[in-house]
């Protein structure tokens, strides 16, 4: 099945937006200002004297001063100017970076600046390569030769025109004075290095696959699109919103609550495996440990979501519920999750099992939900759909979240696990031990093996417990399919 979009594919494709070009151009113009720009000088290249040559360190110093940044940041920015083709290196012309030393650079002529509007033309490239061929009598670099052969095949119908243009340009070039010719050749070469970069050259013009819309034009909106937008806005206006002080306060509270659990902000015990090459942290926090760590147990208390997402926490919660004889809510929630996220083929069978186990009058694990929700759900089960249990599941979840969860946190089960939880000592490896760790990194257990173990455990639990463990039965149905 293919999803079809209502938008027409106009077959034309457009290059991604380059939003930074305006700012870059403004900066480059400023840099070339006679009075306040970067100071250049004449330099001898081979036999010719080239005007307006700058050194890398002058450029970087000027930018650091202008933008009030560190030299490193200024170097990054100037590397980008080279990568976009606003400045080109005179030595080492294939590496589009700015070096913070006396390497030589020149400003590119505006004719060759990058533009949003069009790609560098293939036929222009063909003319350039043909011209190089004439001049250097077939001394193109391997990547250029490959391009040349490709273009020769692709633009064969235009080849006479291309050769003619190349010859004309070559002749015109010969008529120029030598310094001008050398400068122009450097500029043209730089332009093509940026637009058709050789392997291992990182050019900023190389920006990924084409987009479907033209960033330069506005799309015409039709009446049905307006209708949809109006419906969206109406719905958005009626949607209840919360005051910023409340919602932002909650965000700040979240950060504060989790601060000690963030490995970037507080040390994780016994140690961060990436720092010490020792994976004790991962082993202690595996899915099926007898005793979890203190931090893990603390995290369960933050929200019902944390408790249920950590399957070890969910196990502990189940122990508590078993003692209270109220495990059916969680079992129903798990079963509804399996239905929602399961395969399409297994839905009807799962829905039937859920109905028989949880919702039918006199069912073995009957859940206590309000009459209206029960009515809607049962009616929906006539034509089972993966979201048919949404209302009931939400009701049950909110019940657990607002009542059962808090009772769990106050219960002896939770207090017991808090007491027994491990508090590992921080590792203190000597440099020799660290090196040893690095040489003997543990491969751990493969997730596929863990997954297989999980499935076996689930099957065992299903066989052992009564009443029927719905979740296991449903994953069994999934596996059969």
């Amino acid at each position: 099945m293919t999803i079809r979009t209502a938008r027409p594919d106009r077959v034309q494709h457009f290059r991604p937006r380059m939003h930074c070009l305006k700012k870059l151009e403004a900066m480059v113009v400023e840099m070339q200002d006679q009075k306040s720009g970067v100071k250049g000088s004449e330099q001898k290249l081979n036999v010719t004297t080239i005007p307006h040559v700058l050194t890398g360190k002058d450029i970087i110093a000027w930018i650091a001063n202008k933008m009030k940044t560190t030299p490193e940041e200024a170097q990054t920015f100037s590397t980008m100017l080279v990568a976009y083709g606003y400045i080109y290196p005179l030595q080492n012309h294939k590496k589009l970076v700015m070096c913070n030393d006396s390497s030589l650079y020149r400003f590119q002529t505006p004719y060759f600046w990058p533009t949003q509007k069009w790609f560098a033309e293939d036929s222009d490239y063909a003319i350039y390569l043909a011209k190089r061929n004439i001049r250097k009598k077939g001394m193109l670099e391997p990547y250029e030769q490959a391009h040349y052969n490709h273009l020769h095949e692709w633009l064969n119908h235009k080849w006479d025109f291309i050769v003619m243009q190349a010859t004309e340009q070559y002749k015109a070039g010969k008529e120029r004075k030598k310094p001008d010719r050398v400068v122009f050749d450097c500029q043209e070469r730089a332009y093509w290095i940026v637009n058709k970069p050789p392997r291992r050259t990182h050019s900023a013009i190389d920006c990924g696959p084409e987009r479907l819309i033209d960033p330069n034009t506005d799309e015409k909106i039709t009446f049905d699109q307006y209708r949809r937008q109006n419906m969206f806005y109406q719905q958005a206006i009626m949607r209840s919103k919360v005051k910023s002080s409340v919602s932002l306060g909650a965000l700040v509270k979240y950060v504060t609550t989790y601060k000690n659990h963030d490995p970037f902000l507080a040390p994780c015990l016994p140690s961060n495996p990436w720092q010490t090459d020792h994976d004790a942290y991962w082993t202690l926090n595996m899915r099926r440990v007898d005793l979890p760590t203190k931090m893990r147990v603390e995290r369960w208390s933050f929200s019902l979501f944390e408790l249920l997402s950590d399957l070890r926490g969910r196990d502990d919660f189940k122990i508590f519920l078993k003692k209270e004889f109220s495990g059916e809510n969680l079992a129903f929630w798990e079963a509804a999750e399996e239905l929602k996220w399961g395969t399409a083929a297994s839905m009807t069978a799962k829905a039937e099992t859920i109905f028989k186990t949880f919702l039918a009058p006199g069912a073995p694990r009957w859940i206590n939900i309000d009459g209206r929700t029960m009515g809607l759900t049962v009616k929906g089960l006539d034509h089972p759909h993966r979201y048919v249990l949404e209302a009931a599941q939400t009701h049950v979840f909110l019940l657990m979240k607002k009542d059962t969860f808090f009772r769990y946190l106050k219960s002896p089960v939770y207090k017991d696990i808090q007491k027994k939880a491990l508090n590992p000592e921080a590792h203190n490896f000597s440099p020799a031990q660290l090196e040893q760790n690095a040489n003997s990194r543990s491969p751990g257990i493969h997730p596929i093996i863990l997954w297989q173990q999980e499935e076996e455990e689930k099957a065992k639990a299903a066989a052992a417990s009564a009443p029927v463990d719905v979740k296991a039965m449903m994953s069994k149905i999934d596996r059969k399919k």
């Binding site: 999803i3 979009t5 937006r17 939003h19 933008m67 490193e72 940041e73 990054t76 696959p209 987009r211 479907l212 039709t222 009446f223 699109q225 209708r227 109006n230 969206f232 806005y233 109406q234 958005a236 949607r239 209840s240 919103k241 005051k243 910023s244 409340v246 919602s247 932002l248 306060g249 909650a250 965000l251 979240y254 950060v255 989790y258 601060k259 490995p263 970037f264 902000l265 040390p267 961060n272 495996p273 990436w274 994976d279 942290y281 991962w282 926090n285 929200s303 996220w341 399409a344 083929a345 979201y387 949404e390 209302a391 939400t394 979840f397 493969h446 997730p447 596929i448 093996i449 997954w451």
Partner: protein
Amino acid sequence: MCDQTFVAATFGPCDSCGTASPLMNIYIKNEPINYCSFCMEVMACQGLQKGETLATLKKECESLKKKLEEDRGKLNDVELHQVAEKVEVVGALSIKTRRVLKGHTNKVLCMDWCKDKRRLVSSSQDGKVIVWDGFTLNKEHGMSMPTTWVMACAYAPSGCAVACGGLDNKCSVIPLSLDSNENCAAKKKTVAMHTNYISGCTFTNSDMQLLSCSGDGTSALWDVESGQLLQSFHGHTSDILSLDLAPSETGNTFVTGGCDKKANVWDMRSGQNIQSFECHESDINCVKYYPSGDAFASASDDATCRFFDLRADREVAVFQKDSIVFGASTVDFSLSGRLLFAGYNDYTINVWDVLKGTRISMMFGHENRVSRVRLSPDGTALCSASWDNTLRVIDIFCCFQA
């Protein structure tokens, strides 16, 4: 947590046609009604009624948009950095690259971590998808895709499969095996089929469903086993470049960002676009939820990253600096949500303090654009993938000022 979306009635009999189906909650003349997506489309496409013209619809649209902005403004009683005034400042950062993963022969476009916190999958312009054990630097699987530019890849929650897609307009799921020598690509299964390139994909809470977004402007939810389209999401007017699934207990919403400068939040059950934010000045390259699920951040070509609060329904912070001129292509949060890592097209990664809105640090090291930054599932490391053909696993440690 977005309580509102959680409790909205999204399944039941449609008010128009009566069939039991996923419902969209809309308003007709200020009355709340629940329509199935088909009836909604019929209503949108019906011919112009008496007195209705394109101009009147456009005027109505503009006045509604203005009203929404006014409502949002009324609740804007405080700024984020004001609320965070009393929070202590994050101090010096110690940043170290712990692993450099070399093996791709061209730009690395995407990566994703496995739930076991050490394995990761990466995809590249050279058409290869590689599964690595980041901890031991072992390459476990290397698979070749039929086209180049594999722009999206994702690891399944169970760790038993990976999904990938790109210029082939398809998203395929590949089951992994314990045997490194086995050719996993042979068992590849095509799940999602779009009419343009796949820009992002992710599994939902299980291995059986896949969410994909595409350059054709649509995103879709698919059943992996049968390849069936479960729900499609229309609303973007241009290429969608990124998507992220909400980490909340419901897992029912996701956010997408696209070239139309909009970030849209969708209800996965009904296909309805429930919230939309149009604040960026250029294409949105990446969207990522805040760990609590109540907010998200976006990275754009306009060189800013913005932070949107879903409950207040507005943009609450802009992470920008005059000296940052190049587009941001990727964002991710640290585990507590205090730090925001953004990868830029000028080859750097900036670390922002989410609460104070300031930049804490810059990371250099890549030799080309940073295409993806992702935090490992337990927050112990950050992986950055770049167009310089490498991936780096970076470890960061901040101290707090006394």
